[in-house]
């Protein structure tokens, strides 16, 4: 009896000591509180396939996420895995050696992702990838199909048709566009959503290569178009903030919203009866490629100093699988860079189609690494331009001069 008891105690003690080494509890931080349920389902599927690994999903308020994450990482109390932003904000974390570099051996799914997606999670100074990119966002025109049908309008093929549509909507006593410029970053989305086709793909290629700058006539022409169409923004749009613009569209008072594809889910939630369509704002001629602006939102990354590196890599590999992408895209209504995912949502499919001819959301993808960032400059200058306080030429000049303070190709 005594012996059995002793053995049992020993056995229990051994299990207790060994257990933490076997069970791997991973923490996973996110800024998407609203996506918790879906993530928990995804995690449950992962845990079922990987016994011994558990993942704890923890979400923080989006606007303070960067501060919380950076403080935790600096204090060595960061999570094992985390959502990180893309581009400049990504480099702030990755450049400080807090993230685990990942390769195609660790995450086979990376092999099938396109280069633009991977660039969003690549640290420029060493060329290594530190995150699995998760969603792309598209700058386009979202419109109210009900109003379009009611007035017998169709998706415009040329810039003039877009203007004619806007005029027809105003004549019918509605707001053509819901957009306002009081919230600074809206100015940048407006330019990308409305001006990309006029500016054209070549300009973007050249500006990225450093062979032209923003004073280029093609970019100025894009700004002129934005200025022209702002005549169809609501009266007093300079005082209209982002939330108010959203409300104008959701309530059906305005027919179009120039903005990001991330609005779609939100619009549908707020007004399920709203019938929504999307199109790329056209260029001056019907032959001009209809372009949308695209950027990647962020990625899933591992902590460089995690104690469970292998388990983390397993989870990251899982986030790049078609199985994960399928749920991520259809449940959370995102466009994923993972290949082989079929979208059940028609509208998302349409956005994915538009993404086939896209230009980068340029200030975020290429000029948000140093201060003053291209975004800071463009947002303020466009706000000024639409308030009638500067011209497209002067705005373009100011943006170029600001970036030129640190960017060599713009200095001559």
């Amino acid at each position: 009896m005594k012996k059995t008891f002793k053995l049992l105690t020993l056995g229990l003690a051994a299990t207790a000591i060994a257990a933490p080494a076997v069970a791997q509890d991973l923490s996973f931080w996110s800024w998407r509180q609203e996506d918790r349920a879906v993530y928990e389902d995804l995690i449950a599927a992962f845990e079922a396939a990987n016994p011994g690994i558990t993942v704890e999903f923890e979400a923080f308020e989006a606007s303070s996420y960067a501060t919380i994450l950076s403080t935790a990482l600096a204090g060595e109390s960061g999570p094992d895995m985390m959502m990180v932003r893309a581009y400049g904000a990504f480099e702030a974390v990755a450049g400080a050696d807090y993230l685990m570099p990942i390769t195609q051996d660790d995450v086979p799914g990376l092999a099938s992702m396109n280069e633009t997606a991977l660039l969003a999670q690549t640290l420029r100074e060493d060329g290594e990838i530190y995150g699995v990119p998760f969603a792309s966002q598209t700058m386009l025109v979202i419109y109210n199909k009900g109003i379009y049908d009611q007035l017998g309008l169709s998706e415009p093929d040329t810039w003039d048709e877009l203007l004619a549509n806007a005029q027809a909507i105003e004549d019918a006593g509605m707001f053509a566009f819901a957009n306002g410029t009081a919230t600074a970053w809206q100015n940048e989305t407006i330019v990308s959503a409305l001006g990309s086709s006029t500016i054209g793909q070549d300009f973007f290629r050249e500006v990225v290569a450093g062979t032209t700058d923003f004073t280029d006539p093609r970019f100025v022409a894009g700004l002129e178009k934005v200025q022209e169409i702002s005549a169809y923004f609501p009266d007093g749009f300079t005082g209209l903030d982002y939330a108010s613009s959203q409300q104008l569209f959701v309530s059906g008072l305005a027919a179009m919203f120039a903005g990001g594809s991330f609005e779609i889910a939100n619009f549908r939630n707020q007004n399920p009866d709203l019938e929504i369509g999307v199109f790329a704002a056209p260029g001056p001629s019907a032959d001009d490629a209809k372009l949308v602006g695209v950027f990647f939102d962020g990625g899933y990354a591992g902590n460089a100093s995690t104690e469970h590196a292998e388990a983390v890599k397993k989870f990251l590999a899982y986030t790049a699988t078609t199985e994960f992408g399928q749920v991520f895209a259809n449940e959370l209504r995102n466009i994923t860079p993972i290949q082989g995912v079929t979208l059940t949502d028609d509208l998302l499919n349409e956005v994915a189609q538009l993404n086939q001819s896209a230009v980068p959301y340029i200030m975020l993808t290429n000029f948000r690494y140093e201060e003053p960032s291209g975004s800071v400059l463009l947002q303020a200058e466009v706000q000024k331009m639409l308030a009638g306080e500067t011209t497209p030429q002067d705005a373009a000049q100011a943006v170029t001069d600001g970036i030129a303070t640190y960017y060599a190709p713009f200095q001559d």
């Binding site: 932003r85 450049g95 919230t183 609501p234 007093g236 005082g239 201060e371 003053p372 303020a380 308030a387």
Partner: protein, 321 residues
């Protein structure tokens, strides 16, 4: 505290009072240490570390090399940062003078009216102070709705009385945005100087006033020669607090116009500029602890020095009276 005397063996007699002294010392220490520790941890340490941060180059979260005063010279003299800094500073100065006139001036007039017990004084004493207890978040949000260009109460009111020409995008127009914020601040905070001035007025001995009233019938002369000098301590409090508040102004502009000082910097103040530089504006920029810390240190020094010198000056004036 004295160092313990170890040269002589203490006698029983001399030990007793010494023990009592150290007991008292311990009691004082016991009372002082916790607040001092909290102050050191949450006030002095952050200030000192911000001071240290300001002398380094930062790449994101990674501290780079020691750069001396480079961050300071960058925010003060290098373009385009210098323009932003001086524009924000200029706006802070404008806010301070405007609030000095509107908020403190109106505060004094209201206090005087309440003190003279005009009809409804009891009700108004509470009404005037009510907005002060509201959270700035609520005030900012509600006034933002009032100023809404399409549905806002302000424009609706103007239109309903035929003043359509004045209806406009209050927070989006560079000519009105900062003034609108100043108005809201004054509306919300006017109760504070009112209360402080009222307390000062109520402390004036009635004999002095009675004596003065026998000399003159002029209320203005009475205010200028008797009342104003006697409530100088109240004025000191109102002026200094308003000065500190104006140069630390953050919550109201942040809630009503956002981090960028929209439209295009016309409502930008040092607090907003510091915040978006140090912590990054998620939808526009990146974070730079070095420059942010330099801004914070400059703001702290400016406020501390001016507030100290001014307090000393105002206090002297009080004593002379």
């Amino acid at each position: 505290m004295d160092a313990p005397d170890t040269t002589e063996a203490p006698t029983q007699k001399s030990r007793l009072p010494r023990l009592r002294m150290s007991g008292r010392g311990m009691w004082i220490t016991f009372l002082l240490v916790p607040p001092l520790a909290v102050m050191a941890l949450f006030v002095i340490y952050p200030i000192v570390s911000a001071l240290a941060y300001a002398f380094y180059d930062w790449q994101g979260l990674r501290r780079g090399e020691f750069v001396g005063f480079a961050n300071f010279s960058k925010v003060l003299f290098d373009e385009p940062f210098a323009t932003t800094t001086w524009n924000a500073f200029k706006n802070n100065v404008f806010v301070f003078f405007a609030l000095m006139i509107i908020q403190n001036g109106l505060g004094f007039i209201l206090a005087y009216a309440l003190w003279r017990d005009l009809p409804g004084a009891r009700f108004h004493r509470i009404a005037v102070f009510l907005p002060v207890v509201l959270s700035t978040v609520i005030i900012g949000y509600v006034w933002k709705l009032f100023f809404h260009p399409i549905f806002g109460a302000v424009n609706q009111l103007l239109r309903s009385v035929g003043l359509d020409v004045f209806a406009g995008p209050w927070l989006g127009d560079p000519d009105t945005a900062l003034n609108a914020l100043i108005f809201v601040n004054a509306w919300a905070w006017v109760g504070f100087p009112t209360l402080v001035f009222l307390a000062g007025l109520q402390r004036i001995p009635s004999e002095i006033l009675d004596a003065a009233r026998m000399e003159t019938d002029s209320e203005l002369l009475l205010i200028r020669k008797i009342i104003w000098p006697l409530i100088a301590p109240s004025a000191t409090v109102c002026f200094i607090l308003l000065f500190i508040g104006s140069f630390n102004w953050f919550e109201l502009p942040y809630i009503m116009v956002g981090l960028d000082g929209s439209p295009f910097g016309t409502t930008d103040v040092l607090g907003l500029y510091f915040y978006r530089t140090a912590f990054g504006n998620q939808s526009a920029g990146i974070q730079d602890f070095g420059m942010g810390s330099a801004l914070a240190v400059l703001m702290f020094l400016f406020i501390a020095v001016v507030a100290t010198v001014w307090t000393i000056y105002l206090r002297r004036r009080e004593i002379e009276v």
